[in-house]
Symmetry: C2
Subunit: 456 residues, 2 copies
Amino acid sequence: MQKIKDYVEANKDRFLDELFELLRFPSVSADPQFKEGVLNTAEFVAQKLKDAGADNVEVCPTAGYPIVYGEKIFDPSLPTVLVYGHYDVQPADPLELWDTPPFEPTVRDGKIYARGAADDKGQFYMHVKAFEYMVKNNELACNIKFMIEGEEEVGSANLGIFVRENKERLKADVIVISDTSMISLETPSLETGLRGLSYVEVEVTGPNRDLHSGVYGGAVANPATILAKMIASLHDENNHIAIPGFYDDVIELTAEERKALNEAPFDIEEYKTDLGVADVWGEKGYTTIERTGIRPTLEVNGIWGGYIGEGAKTVLPSKAFAKISMRLVPNQNSERITELFKKHFEGIAPDYIKIEVKPHHGGEPVVTPTDSIAYKAAEKALEETFNKKPVPTRGGGSIPIVALFEQELGIKTVLLGFGLDSDNLHSPNEKYGIENYLKGIETIPLFHKYYAELSK
Amino acid sequence: MQKIKDYVEANKDRFLDELFELLRFPSVSADPQFKEGVLNTAEFVAQKLKDAGADNVEVCPTAGYPIVYGEKIFDPSLPTVLVYGHYDVQPADPLELWDTPPFEPTVRDGKIYARGAADDKGQFYMHVKAFEYMVKNNELACNIKFMIEGEEEVGSANLGIFVRENKERLKADVIVISDTSMISLETPSLETGLRGLSYVEVEVTGPNRDLHSGVYGGAVANPATILAKMIASLHDENNHIAIPGFYDDVIELTAEERKALNEAPFDIEEYKTDLGVADVWGEKGYTTIERTGIRPTLEVNGIWGGYIGEGAKTVLPSKAFAKISMRLVPNQNSERITELFKKHFEGIAPDYIKIEVKPHHGGEPVVTPTDSIAYKAAEKALEETFNKKPVPTRGGGSIPIVALFEQELGIKTVLLGFGLDSDNLHSPNEKYGIENYLKGIETIPLFHKYYAELSK
């Protein structure tokens, strides 16, 4: 559609400037020291929704960070699209690995480098700008509602409550989320599933104080050593997860489904080169695409204990810690998996140490239907923008809210992601392609148009 | 000897005030940010040696921190005692676990709480005050030399060079070091051996950047997991160290020697209660006294990798690290053991990660003869002060310099330690008993007296 192309072309500098403004807010929800940054981001988002033409814009308080709501209901007889996104971002550390400051967006080779560029500021903001276009040009095809939260990176603890308390206000026919990636600008794709998440923190305590490793070493269990042994036992020699019952609820895909999945363009050598690894690693019997898409995983996200400063200290530490998360696939339940982990980890703990397992947030896996009107509308919109039919994929990431929406509001979600796996989400030098951003803004009005048409 | 008792009684407040002054210097040699504190400590020690009556006092520069030298040669025909000590201390972290600030000495229940109180400021300073007594009262029985270094806690890297370059100046008949512990004030003891040390830092690198654990988890080796598996494999199911050749040079003690060693008073229940552990842990087939005294050990002193901040971050880290040290027993060689570790650790590293093993400092194990004049003089001195013959013990700690002295100067060492294992060396709330401090000052002149007598 030429008209939207022209509008994007005419306004792209402003679109970028506004996104840069948004990216300058250090909205790290995991770290209390950024509280003000997070709150200011919510106010900024609310203002931008008003500017774009949204009504009833509200920064809705929660027990944690606020949720920004806004809507445009111009014809109740038309379908309603609910846009979900999040304005909070992951912590930026390790800072020293960023080539440019995480909260000072910088453009290099057509990419915007900043924390949150792709996850999710750059992606949800495409919807705000597409909305601006539709309002200004009387091209709204559907009613629209925005719900942008500030706690996605810490488990959306308060969003569930908000959704339960606002079922009427959030009524919609479909939810659109742009917080995932596509294969490439040459090969658009649509996520048809997401993994769930179970996240725990473990604390192993040995002696009641740090000890001199010369005086006590060899006679008292070292919590760092014991934690290492316990973590080592969580994967067997085939890299299957060795927690009893862990795979019980996993539904194996059919040979056809696996075949289709593995037909997505994927170059293992390119993959290894990009990551700088001599070889890949994973569960025996599955391809890399399957390992990250349809199989549950267990990863150590952080480990620490003892002296980690400069130089050498001969200490036998009192405590050692680890943050461990598990990605879950359809039919697994995060609470059940967290329980299984806790039970198992406490079970294998030797009696000469003390152990504590604290659950962090979790989320349920989902599968999005490919035969729905919403999926077909997204497919048509992407095909028109990229001149190529999008490939269905299964994403490894987790957006716990998707499952929550299904349960609480009974609404299905379409995952209209424009990021790339190489965007360094959650890593230093997170980036988002300018072209991905602008193509997204271009695609979204088409989705609304086709969704309205197909809903007739 | 009543006269020294009276002198100590009359001057004990000043002796304590001076030690407190010394303890207020934050002389952490491992951390560059304390450089000034370390240098100021050296100047202070030099001044105190002059005040006590030492001649030719000099703060000798080295490539690292200076060595403080001083002497009193009043009769070349008499034997010469070389006193070694160190004015640097271990890092104080974790700071939050100290009940009172580490560099603000505080007395509670007759104990001085401060970093370095026992290791080694409080112990080497006893020699300075005992020297003051002998000078003031014309009771010097031997010539005396002081060599107080500032890099013991980081491996005495420059002391070896200093010793080689100053063989003439350091000429002596015996070396006395008070940097170890005794069983208790009721049961004095003398160390007859020290373990050596091999200290390495390992770095495991997986992908070339931190990754999103949802997008890449399960498909790329996680360095934290791999490091855990590698560390877990370093001890077998009997807690023997599983590095090929590690025990090759260990000389097993005879049944008699082991019997004698195990006759030292030791209450396993008290030990467990003091450490707050349900059970001890260690190499199968050996008692706790043997595990910490005559057996080599391997301990993780620190481990870190990934996100270790507040809250949850779903990252697959690029790197994971560990500081690992091994305590060596007589006849093991630290360079050889470091090499064995490096070879083994690199050998077990899977090809989908990169590994680097960096050696830190090392030191050789020693055995001090119990039939020497020096040992007998120390025995008599302790017996007179404590009214009980000291028990011979084998210490688990390491003072690499002892082996170095034997090699370079051909001088044997007597380990006249007055600390207690419960002094929290290298831990928060390090302490040193006021009575241990004063009894030490009382005992040292007796050692000089008997050493001179027995040398006739």
